[in-house]
């Protein structure tokens, strides 16, 4: 049987180790590891930070949903942020607007109702950009008109600062999730919209493109995309499209023609010089009815600036 001094020593060691374990557990990990120890990847973003941790729950007025923002490095090495929202089981359809100051991080007109927990999927909005992200105060508003209830929450906000003088630059937003239309129809969205520039010796080509594996998101039969960037292009620069066009002008609703290549629809414009505009909005519309389904941030490269 060990002596009293040895027992005391063992007790001290046990208490010290327990304290260390609790101290380590209380620290927020810089990245949320998966079960196998690898870094969590959400869409194309390898997560390094999450805020709030754990995901915050909004539960006022009978609405219940969770939300969180993630930040990290995209698979192509750029910075990325993800803002995602998930309705909880039994919660009614919920309009949600997540904003940081005047910038809308994600505006979902209706989180779909889910009767079972495994049906309650995340609606995710990922941004890929050159720059950094910072934690700041944001506001989640929801309920009727998306302004009945408010939750102030810390979240990661993107600060994109792409170099427009390089040979190539790109900013993009990826949207994945399901929303409901006015008629109660669920619309699954899974696409990436980008604004890119390709610089050659004598000109710069601005590319506005959307990629999706599902054709119905590209042929205008399920959704269309109204981008604020198109309203800032010079008059006459936009080729007129038809009902099958994916892109729309946000201000006028006029279709914009774009070429199809594989799973990408793109509009290419030549420009003498380029400026970067942030923030701009991309609005996802239901096909045919011009009914707004989502509004997400999507800055763009535009002609101008000398």
């Amino acid at each position: 049987m060990p002596g009293p001094s040895r027992l005391r020593w063992r007790s001290v060691v046990a208490v010290g180790l327990t304290s260390l374990v609790f101290a380590a557990a209380s620290q927020s990990p810089p990245a949320e590891p998966n079960g196998d120890g690898s870094t969590l990847q959400v869409l194309q973003c390898q997560v390094e930070q999450a805020l709030p941790t754990p995901p915050a729950e909004a539960s006022q007025g009978g609405f219940h949903f969770v939300f969180e923002s993630l930040g990290g490095t995209a698979v192509d090495g750029r910075a990325c942020t993800v803002h995602r929202i998930r309705n909880l089981q039994g919660s009614p359809p919920t309009p949600v607007r997540w904003s940081a100051g005047s910038e809308v991080l994600a505006d979902v007109v209706g989180l779909p109702r889910c009767t079972q927990d495994d049906e309650c999927a995340w609606i995710e909005v990922a941004r890929y950009f050159d720059g950094d992200f910072l934690g700041g105060d944001t506001l989640v508003s929801y309920g009727l008109n998306a302004d009945s209830f408010h939750e102030e929450t810390p979240a990661l906000v993107a600060f994109a600062s792409p170099d427009t003088s390089t040979a190539a630059a790109s900013v993009g937003t990826e949207i994945v999730g399901t929303v409901v239309t006015l008629a109660g129809v669920e619309v699954a969205i899974d696409l990436v919209v980008r604004s890119r520039l390709e610089r050659s010796e004598d000109e710069v080509v601005l590319v506005y493109e959307v990629s999706a594996t599902d054709d119905s998101q590209l042929d205008g039969s399920r959704i269309t995309l109204a981008w604020e960037a198109f309203d800032l292009l010079p008059t006459g620069a936009l080729p007129a499209g038809d009902d099958g066009s994916t892109f729309r002008s946000l201000a006028t609703g006029e279709p914009v023609a774009a070429g199809r290549s594989g799973d990408t629809v793109s509009l290419r414009l030549s420009a003498a010089s380029v400026v970067y505009r942030d923030p701009l909005a991309l609005v996802v519309l239901a096909a045919g009815s011009d009914e707004v389904l989502m509004r997400v941030p999507l800055p763009a490269f535009l002609p101008g600036g000398g």
Binding site: G61, P93, G110, L144, L182, L293
Partner: protein, 265 residues
């Protein structure tokens, strides 16, 4: 003649057992009434918090928390008020709005119609508005599953459904306000004008006062005729009694003045 009270130091009367029983019975009755009142008061007092809670819930639906809806409702209330003003001015007539009614029965009828219709529409619109606010309340809709599709339409339908909801709320508030603003003053004006008309009838020199005076004169004339009739009957009885001379006979009835007046000269 009054009874003499017993002397202070005199023998005391034994208490009446019937009086004691009566007093006891009365006291018991009072206690019973008091207990019944207490029971009612306690029941009412227990209901008061629930009633207050209901009133609070009724007056503060969750939909009010939406600033957008409050703006719409504000615009609706403003528009309804203006509409009510216009309706009231049209039916009441700007020139005679504050004037006493000059016996215009058509105007009075118009005021009554607007008052009843205005208040009726206001009550119906206010009730519909309250229901409209309730259909986007999660707790209320969970209690009335029938309304779930309506809830889903307004909450999950995006900006267009929200626009319809807000516009409908504004329209209902506008109707209610228009009804109140037009109906309530029209009703008050109608009551005021009716009172004024009655006063003008009753005041000195008015038609009702004249009729009252005529009725009074008729009463006096009736009394005079009654007196004459009595006098005539008494005289007839006196004549028929034995020993009464012809000197006691009543005088000849007066010649009717009308007959005198009508006689030719």
């Amino acid at each position: 003649m009054s009874a003499v009270p017993p002397a202070a130091g005199g023998p005391r009367r034994a208490p009446d057992p019937n009086a004691l029983l009566g007093a006891g019975s009365r006291a018991y009755g009072w206690v019973r009434k008091l207990l019944a009142f207490y029971g009612t008061a306690v029941t009412v007092a227990q209901l008061v918090p629930a009633a207050i809670a209901l009133v609070v819930v009724f007056l503060s639906p969750t939909a009010w928390l939406s600033a957008t809806l409050r703006r719409w409702v504000g615009f609706g209330a403003l528009a309804g008020t203006l509409l009510g003003f216009l309706v009231l001015a049209r039916i009441a007539g700007p020139r005679t709005l504050l004037a006493r009614a000059g016996g215009g029965s058509a105007r009075g009828k118009r005021l009554s119609t607007v008052a009843w219709w205005g208040i009726g529409i206001a009550v119906v619109a206010a009730a519909a508005f309250r229901l409209h606010l309730a259909v986007v309340d999660v707790a209320f809709v969970q209690g009335v599953p029938l309304l779930t599709p309506v809830f889903d339409y307004y909450l999950g339908g995006g900006p267009r459904a929200a626009f319809i909801y807000n516009a409908l709320a504004a329209a209902l508030v506008a109707l209610a306000m228009a009804g109140v603003v037009a109906g309530a003053p029209a009703g008050l004006l109608r009551v005021r004008e009716r009172r004024a008309a009655r006063r003008s009838l009753l005041e000195e020199g008015g038609p009702v006062a004249g009729l009252d005076r005529a009725l009074e004169a008729l009463e006096q004339a009736k009394a005079a005729i009654e007196r004459s009739k009595d006098a005539l009957l008494r005289a007839a009885e006196a004549r028929s009694e034995p020993g009464v001379t012809s000197a006691a006979a009543p005088p000849d009835p007066p010649t009717p003045r009308a007959a005198v007046r009508r006689s030719p000269r």
